[in-house]
Amino acid sequence: MTSRNAAPDAPAAGGRAGHPWRKRPARFSMSVMDAAGPVFRVESPAAPLRRGRDAIGRPVRIAAPIVRTPPSIRRLAMTNQPPVRPEWTTTIDPILQKELERYVLVTNWEKLLGMVDVVYNWGRRSSLWPLGFGLACCAIEMICTASSRFDIARFGAEVFRGSPRQADLMIVSGTVTKTMMPLIARLYDQMPEPKYVMAMGACASGGGPFKEGYNVVSGVDKHLPVDVYVPGCPPTPQALLNGLIALQRKIDGETIVQAPWYRGGVERDVPIPALGPDLVDLRTVELAAERTAQGLIEKREAGLEKPRLIPAPTADPVDPPPAEAPSGKPVKKPKQAVARPSAVWLGDAGLAELADRLNAELGAGTAAIVQAGLLIPAEKLVDAARFLRDRNPIRYDYLASLQSVHYQDCIEVNYHLDSTSRPGSLILLRVRVAEAEGEGELPSLYHVYRGADLQEREVYDMMGVRFVGHPELKRILMWEGFAYHPLRKDYLEPYYEAPTKVFASRVDEGFGRHVRAEELNPHGTNLKIPQGFKDWASLSGSNDPKGEAPLPGGVQVEELESDQFQVSMGPQHPSTHGVFRMNVRLDGETIVGLKPVMGYMHRNHEKIGERNTFLMNFPFTDRLDYLTSMGNNFGYALAIEQLMGDEAKPPERAEYIRVIMAELTRVASHMWSVGFLLNDLGAFFTPALYAIEERELILDLFEWASGSRMMCNYFRFGGVAADLPPGWLDRCRAIVEDRLDRKIDELDRYLSGNEILLDRTKGVGVLSAEDAVGYSTGGPVLRASGVAYDVRRAAPYGIYDRFEFAVPTGRAGDLYDRYYIRILEMRESVRILKQAVRKIPEGPVLAGKKSYQIKVPAGEAYGRVENPKGELGFYVVADGSAAAYRYHVRSPSFINLTALERMCLGRTIADVVGILGSLDIVLGEVDR
């Protein structure tokens, strides 16, 4: 029975019934299995026979049709009188006659409509043009579906349209965040009927691994009607094609008579949710207001176990008071890790000398050594930073990372500084501010290290610490008006269950019942609004809290000269590589102002990382920069291994495997970035699709070793998850020795000398070496500007010190250099790979024995790797418990964006697209 037959206003049958807002006609809940095929399909010989009578009453066995007619026709046929047989039919075989009448002859109005339906449905099923719109990891697989191995074009569905007006199908490919949801709803409303929505992947279907995040919508079907769900995380391209076929079958079952979109006067737009103190669905705003006023959220939280706060580290560690475990037993004092900021750093002696120098130069009390870091009072921070940058013998010119930790008695903002002239002398500065929400205040380092710009905004957004002197201290990942500072330990997410996983089972044993995450929250959805919020009337879907214009201070839109105007490029835009947004001010074609706007993919990686046990967090690191999951694993493993010490020293074979995987990742990622840079310059997909052909082979290797194409989850603390399968190395050798070089040559030969490419890239988006360092850019962007800074050389990790490879640098720092440096780096990676696959020894691949739970000593660690996008750092504070106390990701894509405005000003709108492409950002990592 299909729900289509139900009255249009009846609630939809199926698991999703019962949402208070779900009063939509039943079109969207019809399952695919109910869809019937075209009416004229030929019967298969295997069709079951059933008894019947022919026209003159003889009993015969008639083959039952294998495909049903559309329900509408079936229903109408039941009410009709049997048709009167015309004279001329008596001479032909009665069974054939019956079949003809049934399937071929147009004998009545319904059948005619049925024929129209066939054409109508066939037209739409064969020409589903998707909206060119990718959210997260799934979008990468969506693009792969268009590549030569899978080729969605076979179904006529390769015409990805950038404009929603011309699209038929919205593939919601990735995590839907609250920040993004209003825009998705708006895009949906802008699409003309008939339109379809496919929820691709676990996140779009129901929140997926990020469901418990505070900025994640638990499935796009909370706001849009979804036609097909494609499971997977991410679904493989084959799965997406299967989803497309399922959608085609669903379309086959539609009929023009009942198509709701031709009925006049039906308001079919979905309401656009409002970004207020949280994402508020305007359909349920009264209910939300009522429940908020009752303080139901606060009541629920009162009964939950809260995360424990630990005291900030002190110079000579005193034992923290033994906390009470829930069972009442005192917790054992955790083991302490060796105090060092990172595996390669200045060293204790050097740090003591540096502290003395600071105290001598800037007055006593400037620096005190606390747990291998320098504790600096807030008022001396700028002076100390200037001294370190300009006058210290080791010039600390590179702000590697900036993050904050919420302790019991303070919020500590800490800065990792490194020197590009003396790489590997990393130091850690600690500055402490008041703990209370909104009270912390610090001088901004914006004018010392421009790279602090976005990172300070992030700390402000996440912890509520204000940076005095920052020219534009606004929220960056969340939106202005969001009610909380989510990384504070006293902020509990709407779906909060317990301080750390594993959460208690939500299955009610013996009763066959389970509790959904939604039921944990009094609002029934991922919503949390402070009890005191009153301003409900001002909530509106047309609010755009992230739409702040790139204006010089104080100028209003109305005062702009008439020859300038503003364009919001993104978050849905063909060139933004995901849901990134640039608010640009244009004078003709020239950029006179540009503000990067992000947070549309902020899926709460860090907050979730503080709930996950250490081991559980591996799959989440995969989804940071989803093109380089192996590299992300590497960085995270290094950070925790630093805490665990020699206990987790990977065996020799594992070290080699790690290097092989990381370098294969680099090649795959650079191929992607080179190809799509060309795409951004207008070479429509051809170079990109050629570039990612070899990437597919590398993904095959990953899948073979780890079980997944993209989300490999392959590294473990002290090794890798599993040994390489037999034959893997031969295949890898063949690809490395034989194919990669040729592919890189091919790209180089056809692209690097192209006249148009040279015209478009030479001298465009220049970033000088000083700027590149000052803006804390990393990876190919930094090296293209001529700074030979590569973490693999600067602070060697793993066994990189054993390989021969060069660190290529550019000279001009322009778009071309950033393109060409990637070609050169691929060559170096292949060089490393060739050495590694020759030398890899036999042996175990994991230190110690496998276990589900590991003990991590208390302490701090900063694990850094040279990822394809730049320096990827994981800063972890462990308190001896099962999960990280604080977990921060220094994301290269995010920090590279600091320099975007600098590179773009004065260029044209076409250059901006190329410059952004040359930064090679991945939104999963930018927004985390």
Binding site: G123, F155, D759
Partner: protein
């Protein structure tokens, strides 16, 4: 002019409209197939397989059926009359250019005149004039949409089309001087007696073909709709068949410029060693002529498509530089040199 001539013309108009529309629909399929081959893919191959047809031969019909039945959105904020008018301008200006294009032999002793308006003396001027009207479609679409991307697309397009009119027009003047006529049939006749335009006017040919890319908004000059920068450019706000009409107009334009290229520079229906002359008029000769000219046009179209899937795009200012700083001076040099040589030859040869 008798009634029969009139009826003949009406039939010719209907046939040409029908054939070109059908051709355009299938050109889109050809383009998708070429894209697939260029990108090492298969391309559409499912649509039509239900009916036993290979290679997605019904794909254009499916696309058309879908577009016709799609909701036709007219956003509230557009300038409605112009918004509705723009796609019509795009398609009509592209269509009426065909009035003077000879699809085959034309002349007093031929079976049929393969031209709606035969022996128009100013055929080429007419085609150029009508072709440049097409810019109105783009500009009005960009203006009326009230959308920033569309607006930038419209602005770019107006500048681009106006700039490239000049080299486009000047590059063919050399050829016209040689042939001594603006009538396309005369130009073909001259080429069949002397040499193909591409041999005697190589520079003119390159300039013309390059400008033709710009005139038809094709890569590497597709700035008005450059997808990576402007989402959809001037047609961002258009949906359903209105968008389809821009699509059709673009492809009709490609057919027109391909015809002009073939007629002016590739010898029209002429192929060496076949012995075809302007006067030959038998059934076989006529069919050969029609076949040759359409075959050449198809080759030109394939070349235009091939370029699209190969090259990156110019930037706006580079595009302007190319037109004003290189192509127009070159076209002028070409014109003056040709005029001088023609004059010298006429003075001292005859």
């Amino acid at each position: 002019m008798t009634l029969w001539v009139l009826i003949g013309i009406v039939i010719k108009i209907l046939m040409i409209v029908g054939i070109t529309q059908g051709t355009v629909a299938y050109l889109i399929l050809v383009e998708r197939k070429i894209a697939a081959y260029a990108q090492d893919r298969i391309g559409p191959n499912r649509c039509g397989a239900q009916f036993g047809l290979p290679a997605a031969l019904l794909q254009p019909l499916a696309d058309g059926a879908k577009m016709l039945l799609k909701e036709d959105v007219v956003p509230k904020y557009v300038t409605k009359p112009l918004y509705i008018l723009a796609p019509w301008i795009a398609i009509v200006t592209a269509m009426i250019g065909f009035a003077v294009v000879p699809f085959g032999p034309v002349g007093p002793n031929q079976l049929i005149d393969f031209q709606i308006a035969p022996n128009v003396d100013m055929g080429l001027l007419y085609v150029l004039a009508v072709g440049s009207l097409a810019v109105y479609g783009v500009i009005l679409a960009g203006w009326a949409s009230n959308n920033k991307y569309a607006f930038i697309g419209g602005l770019r397009s107006s500048a681009q089309l106006i700039s490239y009119e000049l080299p486009l027009g000047m590059s063919i003047l050399g050829m016209l001087l040689l042939a001594g006529s603006l009538d396309m049939n005369q130009v073909i006749a001259w080429q069949s007696q002397n040499a193909w335009g591409v041999l005697v006017q190589p520079l003119g040919f390159i300039l013309f073909f390059t400008s033709a890319f710009a005139e038809t908004n094709r890569l590497p000059f597709d700035l008005p709709e450059s997808e990576q920068e402007l989402v959809g450019g001037f047609h961002t706000e258009y949906s359903a068949m209105k968008f389809g009409m821009f699509f059709l107009g673009e492809y009709l334009h490609i057919i027109t410029v391909s015809f002009i290229t073939v007629i002016l520079f590739w010898g029209g229906w002429h192929l060496p060693f076949l012995g075809l002359t302007p006067e030959s008029s038998g059934l076989i000769d006529t069919l050969l002529k029609v076949g040759i000219i359409t075959g050449k046009v198809f080759l030109a179209i394939l070349f235009i498509m091939w370029i699209r899937w190969t090259l990156p795009r110019f930037r706006y200012d580079q595009l302007m530089d190319l037109a004003w700083k290189s192509m127009i001076p070159l076209a002028l040099i070409n014109l003056v040199a040709t005029a001088g040589i023609v004059q010298l030859v006429r003075t001292y040869w005859n």
